[in-house]
């Protein structure tokens, strides 16, 4: 059984979805939970079209149904979890009937998916940004983890929880410590012993407290605490929610360096632009994929003149600052990482080559890597701490619907495009049409709109003009836009920067808008 929650993998992770399709052809049931009836949902046995932001309600109602039907995995709960009693009590108020009202999903469908998930021999629960691009993203994630703990669908062959990562090395960025509270290998910066290990190896002091997420950085810019920015391979001038604010803050910096392949919107605001090579085909190194597989990237073509490898630029910068790190060599840098990050220790370049990539953790050169995590939870006696159930409340999206802003706008990707279009914009895709706002046919009738009509889309923060496209996968009251063509439709002029305080992610998935037909067509 495969449960895809807030993910349109058919378009956003097409080759992962090939594996899902193999499962379907082998008899696996697919359930898709998504406000839109996406091209992934079209493959589902059952599609649960929930209202944007009601995921926790749905998850807790599923949990109640599983518990009250006696389908929870009592043995696993007793063996490996904590906090079950409080959780059981908490979910009792999430009845199927109330959940139907709160989520828009028929009670019978919630019951069906609950029984299918709990009753499956093996079940994968996969999610994407539909879960994490909310102001309560972490609550959303733990609500799903609760379900996996309740049914024991974790840490077993074929059963697990699986966030599908959106970028080729976003997992690797985390692995390498490019998150505010971690050093490489997810070692916490506030753990003195672990930090001490790095300080010793690097011969320098490391700040003992965690840093900022990008959204926290914007707040710090507002407070004038952050005045200088070095931005590598990111285009926040287009990609941040509530773009007007982001642009204002980035423009107000005292000094900004942008290191990128392209002269992006962000680069236009920079004091210094450092042209960088394309990491995936002009440089040597590694990336980590969604399945924790570390794989080699290799230079396949020479980089253009005037462009330098990211590591060369950083090494040179260090030299100018008085630190001679020698000559950058991808393998040497990787080996240094291996000496400091236990989960990568066994992954030599030779082994990565031999195995076609390896999945962390891989503790030594005899270790085969791990195809799934959390197997320790099934070990008798239990190894390590118990996995806690979390009591989470359902909270509505911050940008509330009201008569002024009656339509829920959600955002996402289309198959042939990627983020702000910096890379994919150069692909001459026959699938691509002018960026348009997708609306349900029923709403179009109500507003007397035809396909191609231009509408003004307004949120509490901004306003854009976009042509209309019908999408019968949208329910009335739901609209869809992408970030792919900020020059055509600057979607982030509309979105809200309500941020999850723990993950730092903005609520890109829930904007309240109104639409008005443009007088000039």
């Amino acid at each position: 059984m495969i449960l895809l929650w807030g993910s349109n993998a058919r378009e956003t992770h097409p080759i992962f979805f090939h594996h899902v399709l193999k499962g379907i052809h082998n008899g696996a049931k697919l359930y898709v939970i998504d406000p839109r009836r996406t091209s992934s949902a079209q493959w589902a046995d059952t599609w649960l079209g929930l209202d944007v932001g009601s995921d926790i309600y749905l998850a807790n109602a599923m949990a109640r149904e599983i518990i009250n039907s006696g389908l929870e995995n009592t043995k696993f709960i007793e063996h490996a979890t904590s906090g079950f009693e409080a959780y059981r009590e908490h979910v009792q108020k999430f009845t199927l009937e109330r959940a139907e009202c709160e989520t828009g999903v028929p009670a019978a469908a919630i019951k069906q998916v609950a029984h299918a998930y709990a009753g499956a021999g093996r079940a994968q629960l996969c999610w994407t940004l539909g879960i994490t691009e909310h102001h309560n993203a972490v609550d959303n994630v733990v609500a799903l983890i609760n379900l996996a703990l309740l049914t024991g669908h974790v840490g077993r062959y074929g059963s697990g929880v699986c966030p599908l990562r959106g970028q080729n090395n976003v997992q690797g960025g985390g692995d390498m410590g490019a998150i505010p509270d971690r050093l490489p290998g997810f070692q916490h910066v506030e753990n003195d012993e672990l930090r001490g290990k790095f300080e010793k190896a690097w011969g320098t002091k490391i700040p003992a407290t965690k840093g900022w997420h990008i959204s926290h950085m914007l707040d710090a810019m507002e407070r004038r605490e952050l005045t200088t920015l070095y931005c590598l391979g990111e285009n926040p001038a287009d990609s941040e929610a509530d773009r007007h604010r982001a642009l204002k803050l980035l423009s107000g910096l005292e000094f900004m360096v942008v290191q990128d392949l392209f002269y992006t919107k962000t680069a236009e605001l920079a004091d210094v632009v450092l042209p960088a090579s394309a990491g995936w085909c002009e440089s040597e190194g590694t990336v980590t994929s969604s399945e924790r597989r570390v794989q080699r990237v290799r230079a396949a073509v020479p980089m253009p003149t005037g462009v330098r490898d990211d590591t060369e630029i950083i090494f040179d910068l260090a030299r100018r600052l008085g630190h001679n790190w020698g000559e950058p060599k991808a393998e040497c840098i990787w080996n240094e990482l291996r000496s400091l990050s236990p989960m990568n220790a066994g992954m030599s370049y030779a082994r990565l080559e031999e195995h076609g990539g390896m999945q962390w953790p891989c503790y030594d050169e005899q270790h085969p890597g791990e195809m799934f995590l959390h197997g320790r939870l099934w070990h008798d006696p239990l190894i390590g701490p118990r996995a806690p159930f979390s009591v989470v409340e359902s909270v509505d999206p911050v940008d509330a619907l009201d008569p002024q802003f009656p339509i829920r706008l959600t955002t996402g990707r289309r198959l042939d495009s990627y983020n702000t279009g910096v890379q994919s914009g150069w692909l001459n895709s026959p699938l691509r049409h002018e960026e348009a706002i997708d609306l349900s046919p029923a709403d179009c009738r109500q507003y007397n709109l035809h396909e191609g009509d231009k509408v003004r889309v307004t949120s509490r923060r901004g306003s854009v003009v976009a042509p209309v496209r019908f999408d019968s996968g949208l329910r009335p009251g739901l609209a869809f836009l992408t970030m792919h063509f900020p020059d055509q439709v600057a979607t982030n002029d509309l979105t809200i920067d309500a941020v999850d305080p723990r993950s730092g992610t903005s609520e890109f998935k829930a904007t309240a808008i109104r639409i008005e037909k443009c007088l000039e067509q």
Binding site: P14, H18, R165, N168, Q187, A300, H367, I383, P385, P388
Partner: protein, 319 residues
């Protein structure tokens, strides 16, 4: 005497909730369930005994002992469809020749892969195909024709062909059905074996059968999503990257000057392996290794075609 704190009992330690400050201790290395045991089946091929697991094909058994069997419509990642008949072998007790690519081994089978009858059949298959189809860009054909002494020209200049105008209706790939041997691989890759898009099928019957979109509409009007997985499996060059087609047309395509480097796709987090084909410092096409556990040779539109951004002129980039 020095006082020492009593060590917390193991049970008490386990009661503690995990904290991000402390690394989670390693557990046992996860194992996949052992594969179902398959009994070994012994057969003879060209007089040589060979033993392979039950469910293997004659082709797999032949390969195990180093017998090279020609194939056109077969690919490891696709379900065999037995249409090209170039892999046929003689099986003792069988009236007809059998396709090695799909026929499963049975105990005591006696197979001949190089008998007069097999050689004649393979030669005829190659001659029929090569007399009616343009096989000039099919990499395996020349070798097979030489090996079986195939002479397609013996059917004369008036032999019917499938020649037709090339279809160029988008910027990503071209379809030249004058080169199509109807091996069905593209249909399978577009269908249940990989992409599950079902944009193409075989239309028409007999000699006028051809691969087509619904009602022969141009690709941009069809269900095609431009994953290019059909190009990846095409054995004759009937389906070709537009980049390759243009270079061949201009006379600049030169595989001897090309290098292949396998790297990772720059887009989503699936980690698809991309084999970048480079010529004179430029990417000329992108494929994926058939034997990698992530892609099995398949890609999406972004992975296969989304590389232009690395080789646009600096002047263009500034715009």
């Amino acid at each position: 005497m020095k006082q020492t704190m009593p060590a917390p009992s193991q049970a008490a330690e386990q009661e503690l909730a995990p904290t991000p400050l402390q690394p989670i201790p390693p557990g046992p290395v996860p194992q996949a369930p052992p594969p179902r045991e398959r009994r070994m089946i012994g057969i003879t091929i060209d007089g040589q005994p060979v033993s392979v697991p039950e469910g293997s094909t004659i082709l797999e058994a032949a390969r195990k002992i180093g017998i090279d069997t020609p194939t056109l419509c077969f690919l490891e990642s696709l379900t065999p469809v037995n249409v090209c008949r170039v892999c046929v072998v003689e099986m003792e007790g069988s009236r007809t020749l059998v396709p090695a690519c799909s026929r499963k081994v049975e105990p005591k089978m006696a197979i001949k892969t190089d008998s007069e009858r097999v050689r004649l059949s393979r030669k005829m298959v190659l001659e029929f195909l090569a007399s009616s189809v343009d096989v000039s860009t099919a990499p395996q054909f020349a070798g097979y024709m030489e090996r079986y002494d195939a002479k397609p020209e013996r059917f004369g200049r008036n032999a019917d062909t499938v020649e037709q105008p090339i279809k160029i209706d988008n910027d990503l790939y071209v379809r030249d059905y004058s080169k199509c041997i109807l091996c069905y691989k593209c249909v399978e890759a577009c269908g249940v074996d990989a992409q599950n898009t079902f944009a193409i099928a075989v239309s028409g019957r007999g000699f006028s059968a051809s691969i087509a979109t619904e009602f022969q509409v141009p690709l941009p009007d069809s269900a095609c999503v431009y994953c290019g997985n059909c190009i990846g499996v095409c054995p004759t060059g009937a389906l070709m990257f537009k980049s390759e087609y243009d270079m061949r047309h201009a006379g600049t395509w030169d595989e001897s000057r090309q290098q292949q480097t396998t790297t990772i796709c720059p887009y989503c987090g699936v980690g698809c392996n991309l084999t970048v084909h480079e010529q004179d410092g430029e990417i000329v096409k992108v494929t994926s290794p058939l034997d990698h556990s992530v892609t099995h040779g398949n890609l999406c539109i972004k992975g296969r075609f989304g590389w232009q951004f690395v080789q646009i002129e600096p002047a263009e980039k500034q715009e």
